[in-house]
Symmetry: D2
Subunit: 431 residues, 4 copies
């Protein structure tokens, strides 16, 4: 590495750094789906900050509000004191998102990261039920702090805790066990048999589409059945919508098509709109029985994020906004299906839904290779899954058709590059 700035990072930053290893460039500017590095190279971003930039980079209307707010010396940091920026955000969230969906939830500010909202959700569920165990699902990802990590599946990250992780039980996610029609049947058996060794849990926590775990989408049937089980056993149902929420799957909340009503909803990443740290926990009023300050955090009042978040929510007033995401999603679906048909030698199958889709390849290392070649073609794209077996498309949800097409073209070229560089030809599929 001859780049001076990358060298400085290598010298000074911890060995834990990761993305800078996959995308070794120094970025200086971004707008919408585009990023530029210090040498002026232009990149297409189909990564979107791992779902934190659903509206693209530096969206102009949010940017304007943000600069105005800063210039007028608006409150920057407020813990959980009242500010006009906070009030605006609460108002918009309630009026634009919750009310029209008939959703009655208390809004909690648990600290501005995904793991903070998850930890707060687990706490309130345990407190209100008096139970300790939480059921999570295979390949779920909920965060890096000990409480969240205990309900996260990834073994490398779990080992990182340095302590055994407890008070959690893992159940199979939809389709985890091949040829298994109904993995929830398994969960129910554990609940109903009082000799099963699994106590009725305080909560279940799940993603409707598992981002880090391999872009696994649960079916709507599975989600509905899970809700029925939770109601039957009085288990708090927590949907971690940190990555799949805020439009990523085509609706504001990812679970809307299933018609379920989670007891607790975790949001972060794109809820701030502009990529600024923010997280909220939505809690059914009957569960919202905290002692004041029982969970807190220094940055739970990040007002710049309130400003951009409040503005971002206004986009959802117009039904066309949501419709456009779904059109983009349809284009991606069609494209991926086409790729799978066109390049059977990559042994791929489509995963996910909405603008949270990707292709899993049965060929070891193939998906990583696609992402590598994409980067050579100035595109940012990530892999997912325990073996990085999926390359995933996370374009901004409001990307224009030209940008989308351009990105998809680059992906096809990268697939070809990967096939060539790995020496895979059509003959491969016969074996």
């Amino acid at each position: 590495m001859t780049n001076k700035k990358l060298e400085l990072i290598e010298n000074l930053e911890s060995s834990v750094r990761s993305y800078v290893r996959s995308f070794p460039a120094v970025f200086t500017k971004a707008r919408g789906y585009k990023m530029w590095d210090e040498d002026g190279n232009e990149y297409i971003d189909f990564f979107s900050g791992a779902g934190a930039l659903n509206y693209g980079h530096n969206e102009p209307s949010m940017k304007q509000k943000l600069v105005d707010y800063i210039l007028k010396d608006g409150i920057t940091h407020s813990l959980d004191m009242a500010t006009d920026a906070k009030v605006d955000f609460l108002h918009n969230l309630n009026e634009i998102i919750l009310k029209p969906r008939n959703m009655d939830y208390k809004i909690m500010f648990p600290g501005p990261t995904g793991t903070n909202t998850v930890e707060s959700a687990l706490k309130i569920a345990r407190k209100m039920t008096g139970r300790t165990d939480v059921v999570s699902f295979t390949n779920g990802f909920h965060g890096m702090t000990v409480g969240s990590l205990a309900v996260t599946g990834n073994s490398m990250k779990r080992k990182g805790a340095g302590i055994p992780l407890g008070h959690s039980v893992t159940m199979p996610y939809d389709n985890f066990v091949e040829d298994e029609e109904d993995t929830l049947h398994y969960f129910e058996r554990f609940l109903e048999d009082n000799g099963s060794g699994v106590a009725v849990p305080a909560a279940v926590i799940l993603e409707t589409v598992q981002g880090e775990g391999g872009i696994n989408a649960a079916s709507m049937t599975w989600l509905k059945e899970l809700e029925i089980i939770c109601k039957k056993w009085e288990i708090v149902m927590i949907v971690d919508d940190v990555q799949a929420g805020v439009g990523r799957t085509g609706t504001f909340f990812s679970f809307e098509p299933a018609g379920i009503e989670p007891d607790v909803i975790c949001l972060s990443k794109s809820i701030g709109g502009y990529g600024l740290p923010l997280a909220i926990t939505l809690i059914k009023p009957e569960l919202d029985d905290w002692i004041p300050g029982e969970h807190n955090g220094t940055f739970r009042g990040n007002n710049m994020a309130f400003v951009t978040a409040a503005e971002a929510l206004t986009f959802w007033k117009d039904a066309a906004f949501e419709k456009n995401i779904q059109e983009n999603a349809a284009i991606v679906t069609e494209f991926l299906d086409d790729m799978i048909k066109k390049y059977p030698e990559m042994k791929g199958y489509r995963k996910g839904r909405g603008l949270m889709q990707g292709i899993a390849s049965d060929i070891d290392g193939f998906s990583e290779k696609v992402a590598e070649h994409a980067f050579k073609r100035f595109m940012i794209m990530e892999t997912a899954g325990g073996q990085d077996e999926v390359f995933k498309l996370f374009p901004p949800i409001n990307i224009d058709k030209e940008g989308l097409r351009s990105g998809l073209e680059t992906i096809e070229l990268s697939i070809k590059d990967a096939l060539t560089s790995m020496g895979i030809d059509k003959g491969a599929i016969k074996s």
Copy 2:
């Protein structure tokens, strides 16, 4: 409460909210040590965002850099990819802070909150030692996520976890046991006796001045002795400088006067300079042996905070900056000593050091009453300690003399108010 906006908060926000209950006003603007509410009332802020606003609100030079960065579409969110803003921050931290202090540490971005840096510190200590237990100290406060909460003393917050907290052992902090010359002697006995039930821990974690726990300041001797114990038993020494660091006690790191070299240092709150979420973990190079991505987080690349943080660090180039903090601290010390002498009926004694000081009163509820009256006089001031027995002064570290004097005057008036309203007169001290 007749204020419409406060009503909206009460209706929509979770019951967990706390400061808005103590400071029921809607703030709209702030600069330096001043805040304004929606009705134009001007407040003196001696709270400083619980230590996240050490440089005061919306400091002009940071503000300028921030607005410029936003306007030129600088990268907002980057996970741990390289950006010029991040490189600048790393460079300044190394050149201005670490190198001049002969400190050789790797810089980790663990997610932008205090609890995130603490969780990362505990992980690396456990991983590198292969041990599970961590020793923390009575009245320590390290965060709200399960890993950090397990090393936090406060019983209300611990219960909030809803699960027993483990893999931690609490030892008495300096002066915890009255009439006890040397509480570290206890700790050592536990270490040296292999029947003590306390295994040699992976780490100790401590604040040099305990903010939430009651503004308890450890002596320099105690800190040095603790370092000796850690070296002897090969225990990782973690200083959580989230609240006491970044100048709050008069030096950049709070432990500088003790001449110790912690193995791991946790920083957050004011490291971002402007009140934006940021946290870093400083790790001695020989301990920095992470697997890439073993700890991660969506907002570990909050570039706006990098911009303001890099600018804030430049203040430290001039030795006068530090000297001025110490002068301010001396004024506060003198003032508090004076108050204690002048109002013996409040049964107060001074606690803390630097600009992290307060008065503990032996009269139940007195300190809370002082803070309440201060608010009526348009001053923001917090209490600390398990019984809220301390009212604490957290002015901006760069406050000008006029602002400081003005704040101290208000405090004296509030003390008088509290004495009067509680019906305490000088006769009280005889009882």
Copy 3:
């Protein structure tokens, strides 16, 4: 209760007592399959001390050896010092049982109870693998101390711990999930997917026939497959043969027909022969790497039990002894099948194998009722399963044909009694 002695027990003994509630009589004498109470009533014992009296009560040849030993002032209590009684037991166990079965194991004395051998087995597995989690199976029962309880399924008993039980994961036992051909497929999926949230465990622990859990017998195929999984993933395989071992299922070890070689075997209950407390842990030599005294216990040298145990083992020299158990088992099987056919209204199905069989009834409370009526007919018989849905036949394994026939006749009468008293007639099966 008018009986003076039962009154004394009620007054003085803890509320935790249980069997005395089901069998309210004061027993004074026993021999073989017969017991007598203080009033001279004679009972048939098909309970056999929950498997601790496989050779019947007060077997004459053991009795003789025992009295001789006591009269000559043989060592009674020896911790783990050497005594001739211990040497004889070790010799007989090795010569009569282990060698002829080509079994090479170190013999550990972990304290004289079932839970002690289980705790020792879990310790050595964790120590030798450096892993913490142990996989147990639904409806497994391994003991009442915290380590064993953590791998026990029963929810009432688990709650009794008063703390969350950890470092264990429950997997479905054979046939746990209805219509599920192969529950081990689940276990394997969890092992092979590194995002499953289930780490490769230190050990699996299982009973080949679950006594307390409902007389569930694993198939030989399932046991063999489990062994293959353990070998593949280097998991220590622990067979808890405390209840099913020592002839109860027709062979000395219950797993012999499966042809497997567990890494660790737990024995207690009938290993002492005469009903005296004794337990041993058999450990493959390569795993037997304890520090001397790393696990210990005051009564690990119960020499009276060594004397009776050594004598009991001699019975196994003659192949006819084992053959006779199997003949008895065949009689029980035939009888139970006959009952099920003859009394379809009890909605029963046969469970278990060898002399560890019973009938599970789908009618709530039926099996308990059978046991109650049996007691009225002076027979001791227990129920099993989470809902006490099984009445189980545990005659002495060396019972003579007359005794067996007599017991079975009483059971048929008790079934009839139960049907009558519950008002169940043949019509019931139609509903």
Copy 4:
């Protein structure tokens, strides 16, 4: 080792064996304080089965009762069914021991070992308080199963668990910290400060004299103060009298001289009288709220032990029995004080009380050497403490004066042997 039987043990028994390594002889016969090996050598036993043989070996009156019981085919094994043997034991315990001491307790049979009674005590304390943590004391020893081990201090044994041990907090035992007048002050500070990180525990568990931990005797003042703390904070006080109870310290219960009333008392070892496995848990009636069978165990009805235990209790009817123990204790005290004065070069100080005393030597390895030489002189004597720094005298409590004198003489000779063999002379004390 040329002895065939010891070779057999070495070949067949687990590496965990310990005492056979210190006392390599094959014992065949014992009576009172005497043991004989296979070669007819006669040994003096000042070990008494680590406190399980307080009445000496094979005491004639118990032996007679036991043989009679066996010969008449008395019930051997009864789980928790009623037998006449059990009723007799309950009656004697209540009439001879509890009533005369004004003690009102329910009697629980938790399984026949020390660790079983401890586990049952911890369970009921946690259940009745709804709290999880238990406070134990430095150098406490309570058993080898995970629940008991978590409240045991010894680090080697704790590590043996292979898992982190939790739900326990260790506080300093009386005199643990040198020059510390009152270690309970430390405990109280943790309780009263709600930021201490230590929650009010479910229970404290303690030995009044710590056997394994180094023959540390708590003062009566310390015990009384601890009781006051427990009452004040509604903490269940558990006295583990497994080793110090049943006369070992001069009274039936070790805590009698302190005048305290523990909530729960654990007894095992010598409660059976003859060295047969037995344990009981005494629980104040108001705490005895178990679900039937919530704690159970196969060997909780060891009737042979009931027979000998009932007989042993009759000894206590005569006040002379207790008085004689105290006379023996006085002789031991005088002897040890004399030894310390006479052999200052061994740098010894006396520890313990009653017939549970020993000498701790500040010379590394000295006490072990004394025990080794004692064995060469055909005496069985054990060491205690984390560094085996204490040689301890555990003669039968009913030993006759001749036996006692003979044992003490051998000890003096062994001290001399040790001094000589280690090359220690009187000059040593000057350094």
